[in-house]
Amino acid sequence: MTGLLDAQEVSVRYGSLAALDGVDLCVHDGQRHALIGPNGAGKSTLLDVLGGSTRPQRGTVRFAGRDIGRLGPAGRARRGINRIHQRPAVFATLTAAENVVVAALPRVIPRRRWWPAGRRRAAQQLAGPLLEQMGLTAVAAVPAGHLAHGQRRQLEIAMALAGRPRLLLLDEPAAGLSAVEVGRLVELLQALPRAVAVLLVEHRLDLVYALSDTVTVLRDGRTLAAGTPDEIRTSPLVRQAYADGVA
């Protein structure tokens, strides 16, 4: 069954090392899909392939039915795939609101790039709701470089959503966050619009179970198991994998 994102037989080799070996992955519209596995399983590599920063030696990646194998990160972002990295990257000298506007531009305002008219109004219209959703209205006019780490993480999510993506790729979003911040992150992710599908790579199984509809387990570059969180939680195969590997 074809979904929104359809990766088939993806293989990535570095010399004699197979980081990914014939991996299939399917993410449907609006689905919350988690990717887990022990260290070295190939999760980040798969995310790199899906995001466009790594080209696989074999395999195809289709998005909304079209082969996107040739597109880099920019092209995929224009199609509606946005990736959020571990380290929040924002435009430091631009204000929070400007950050959101820039992120939205390729997909939301495709033309009239040169018109200076009503820039404040347009920025407000575009960025206001998202910043409010993320609780950043108070810092809308603050240069992003001055924001705290947690605020930057929120801004990055706002930026990722600004482009009205169809798929978000999240790479260990909880890394480096305190317990309180993780709680807030979970709230944010749970509140994401249902129109957006999410592929989440995460080490913390509690987050995975709280946030996802489907889970795929990778091990040594291959798919070990796939199913609902309950199925995965009780699967003896998965337990074995985590016991054996350095989880």
Binding site: A74, G75, A92, T93, A97, E98, L105, R119, G145, H146
Partner: protein, 337 residues
């Protein structure tokens, strides 16, 4: 709000300076007026340097190339085709933009110091070409005897230093205004974002190369237009006007003025040119020595100005968590301010 106060203060200062520039020809002598006109042309080139160096994050030592292209195109057109100022201006801007467009593929994929090297080499090579292409450029003797300019159809030719100066002022002020407007557009926003974090910009889906190319071509057009102002102001051009020294001086001026600030670039460029002219007048033999020392001193004295870690220039791969944005003079082309 101190930010508001600063903004109003800067606006007031800018207005004062503009008024001062307008009344200048009636206050100072002819020679100084002509000098001011020439300084205006160079300050406009400084704006194009700021556009690339500060706003787009691509430092350049080669804006003298489109500047020269514009100047020579204007001189040739002025001598043989039309003496209407607007026509010459458009031709000059077009020549600058065309040259920039030709150079763009060579620099658009390069970053940081490589761009400095390539643009420097190109700027120098253009000067070499200017010196040897005698048939068109008159070689090292330059071009003189360009007929007086009529600013617009129906207006009389500019016959006095005052007239030429006011023409230069109008052109430069208009173009600077256009640049300020352009910087407030979404394109300006995207350029600044790319300067901050190009990878992030790409990750949002922007075609970075397209924006950078656009910035180069726009900067080339501005520098080309400045070339036509130079022809009117000086009534004579030679390869010496477009040497590497000029590039370096303008870059220094832009850096002093705050790199990404258009107003700062104007002031900085004018200041540096004025100091150079003054030094050459006062110490004809040793001016370069003093000027060189001033370069070194300025670099030492302006650590934030020169050493601001622009993502494209700094060697660190990661963007600084807390850039000295507080010390940074607020840019003129800001959205939402």
């Amino acid at each position: 709000m101190s930010g508001e106060v600063i903004r109003r203060a800067r606006g007031a200062v800018a207005a004062l300076v503009l008024v001062g520039l307008v009344v200048a020809p009636w206050v100072v002598d002819d020679y100084t007026t002509a000098l001011l006109a020439r300084t205006l042309a160079l300050a406009l080139v400084g704006v194009s340097v700021a556009l690339l160096t500060g706003v787009a994050g691509m430092p350049t030592l080669g804006q003298t190339a489109p500047y020269a292209a514009g100047a020579y195109a204007c001189a040739v057109v002025g001598s043989r085709v039309s003496d209407v100022g607007v026509v010459q201006l458009v031709v000059a801007a077009g020549a600058g933009a065309l040259l920039a467009a030709l150079i763009v593929p060579l620099v658009v994929h390069a970053r940081g110091v490589i761009v400095l090297m390539i643009t420097l080499a190109i700027g120098e090579l253009v000067v070499v070409v200017l010196g040897r292409w005698r048939s068109v450029t008159g070689g090292t003797d330059g071009l003189a005897g360009v007929p007086a300019v009529r600013p617009f159809w129906g207006l009389p030719a500019l016959a006095s230093d005052q007239g030429r100066y006011l023409y230069a002022l109008v052109v430069v002020a208009t173009l600077v205004g256009a640049v300020l407007v352009l910087l407030r557009t979404r394109a300006g926003l995207v350029l600044r974002a790319g300067r901050d974090d190009e990878t992030r910009l790409r990750a949002s889906g922007h075609r970075v190369a397209v924006h950078l190319s656009g910035a180069h071509i726009a900067a080339g057009a501005i520098a080309g237009a400045a070339g036509s102002v130079l022809v009117v102001a000086q009534q004579y051009i030679s390869p010496a006007d477009f040497g590497f020294d000029t590039s370096a001086l303008l870059l220094l001026g832009v850096v002093i003025g705050g790199t990404a600030s258009v107003g700062g670039a104007l002031v900085g460029a004018a200041l540096v040119i004025a100091v150079r002219d003054w030094l050459f007048g006062v110490l004809p033999g040793h001016a370069p020595l003093v000027l060189g020392a001033l370069f070194v001193a300025t670099v030492y004295l302006l650590p934030t100005g020169v050493n601001r870690a622009r993502s494209r220039l700094s060697e660190a791969a990661a963007p600084q968590p807390d850039p000295p944005a507080a010390q940074e003079r607020a840019t003129v082309g800001e959205v939402g301010r």
